[in-house]
């Protein structure tokens, strides 16, 4: 369940020069969904959160026990404790001819490579193998050996490796861009359970963009529905149904539903 401490704050973020600014506060331990018809700005929004895209104006900052970090670019985001899973696995995710281990280990440079000037930058093979093995069990990833090229794995297993990659750095906030696209239903439910555990047991916060509406209804505490590159409506858990989401995506808001004004 979300705390009342804000971990991720969005300040007057504008996705296009003529779109309405977006401000939001995301509480620690929350699962926040992003919905919208394709091309309405939710993809640009999650990319802006990750630092991969520079917004037209406004910004994002992450606050936790170690301080408040403005997110100006992808490196900032990674250092502050954000992890981003891109949507197109084949295009932006896997390194097809490289082994599962190589696809995994760049997710945690600080942990898997020696640090410091004279002897920095060398691979700690044992640490990688141990960590990969524990993720293999945790996520029940199936591959022959860590050296198996990732392109030989099924789509679901590839996605699990990519998830393990971003989890390896033990981030504070997971930004998941359509994480179950091209994944079979069994794996999909395993991933849902894993996301829940990341929140409940590891205390992570999740921002989840999804084109599968059932997924948003099942997982999220709150959903931002995007229209015209701005947040059209925020739906709380108690009003989150397939129908309501669909209506909102097509631009029909339900004013009555907004009356409770429950604080986050």
């Amino acid at each position: 369940m979300p705390d009342d401490i804000t971990i991720l704050a969005v300040h007057d973020l504008q996705l296009l020069s003529d779109s309405a600014p977006i401000s939001a506060e995301i509480a620690r331990g929350a699962v926040v969904g992003l919905a919208g018809l394709d091309g309405h700005g939710q993809a640009e929004f999650i990319e802006s959160l990750s630092g991969m895209r520079a917004p037209v104006s406004g910004g994002v900052s992450l606050s936790h026990s170690e301080g408040t970090f403005p997110i100006r670019n992808y490196n900032d985001a990674a250092h502050a404790g954000l992890a981003y899973l891109p949507s197109d696995r084949k295009k932006n995710g896997i390194f097809p001819m490289l082994g599962v281990d190589d696809n995994f280990l760049l997710g945690n440079v600080e942990g898997f490579f020696t640090q410091g000037f004279p002897k920095g930058g060398w691979l700690k093979t044992a640490a990688v193998d141990a960590s990969l093995e524990s993720f293999r069990k945790d996520l029940s990833i199936s591959f022959a050996t860590p050296k198996t090229p990732i392109r030989n794995l099924s789509g679901g297993n590839q996605q699990k490796v990519l998830l393990a990659r971003i989890m390896a750095a033990n981030p504070q906030v997971l930004l998941l861009n359509d994480p179950t696209r091209g994944v079979d239903i069994g794996t999909r439910h395993a991933l849902y359970a894993y996301f829940r555990r990341a929140v409940d047991e590891l205390g992570m916060t999740i921002v989840l963009l999804s084109t599968e509406l059932d997924e948003l209804v099942e997982l999220c505490d709150r959903v931002f529905v995007f229209r015209d590159h701005a947040v059209f409506e925020e739906l709380e858990q108690n009003e989150l149904t397939l129908n309501r989401l669909m209506q909102s995506m097509f631009g029909q808001s339900a004013p009555a539903a907004k009356q409770d004004g429950k604080p986050l």
Binding site: R151, N152, L153, S154, G182, V183, I185
Partner: protein, 258 residues
Amino acid sequence: MANSPKSTSAAPVLGCRAISKRFGETQALSGVSVDFRAGCVHSVLGENGSGKSTLAKAVCGILSVDEGAIVTTEGPLSSSAQAAISPRMMLSHGVAIVLQEVLVVPNRSVADNIMLGQEGLLRGRLPRDEKNDIARDILARLTDRDIPMDALAGGLPLHEQQLIVIARGFASRPRVLILDESTAPLDLADRAKLFKALKSYCAEGGCVIFVSHRMVEIIELSDHVHIMRNGHLIAELSGDEITPEHLLEHLTQEGADA
């Protein structure tokens, strides 16, 4: 929603006999047999990764199958034909595909993109005006938008590129038109107009294979729905059976088994 129970008596124009296809460790298709009939919209529904796109690519000649046979109006393709299968060969059997990815040739005009592949190799170049006229006519069936025929396709917004790509599918006057997840970038007006065009194409005897995971669209459009999971064809619904409840039932029921 007019699902007149279109006959299963119409002649099949394309089919598969127990086709299988494997990629590495993934069995993308296993033993799929299906007939596609003239005058009907056949939808292929399934989760992502269920094998719908592989099926589409197999019947349009992009992929060769490991086992089984593709059947055209002239009977099953011979094994040598199957080994050398290509989109060009399937086009000669009247099968055209609109791919999932919106692929335009960026530095060619809209008309060139719509008429892609309609000219010969060395002979048969269409004069520009004639080409523009034909392309404009095809596009007008799909949309009310006025897209200039001489504009470079790469500079247009994605939904207009998508319309161009769909128009390209119609340009060869195919007997079978496959649409693989081709409606995503379209807005509601374009989508409605496209569906109307698809229905009138079927009324003239064409066959549409509509691959999608959008249930609403499938219910609106289909005469037959083929449901896929993990490379298997698990159910086939026709006419009045095509309701959200039925579809969901098949999708989820089999999901529990898998």
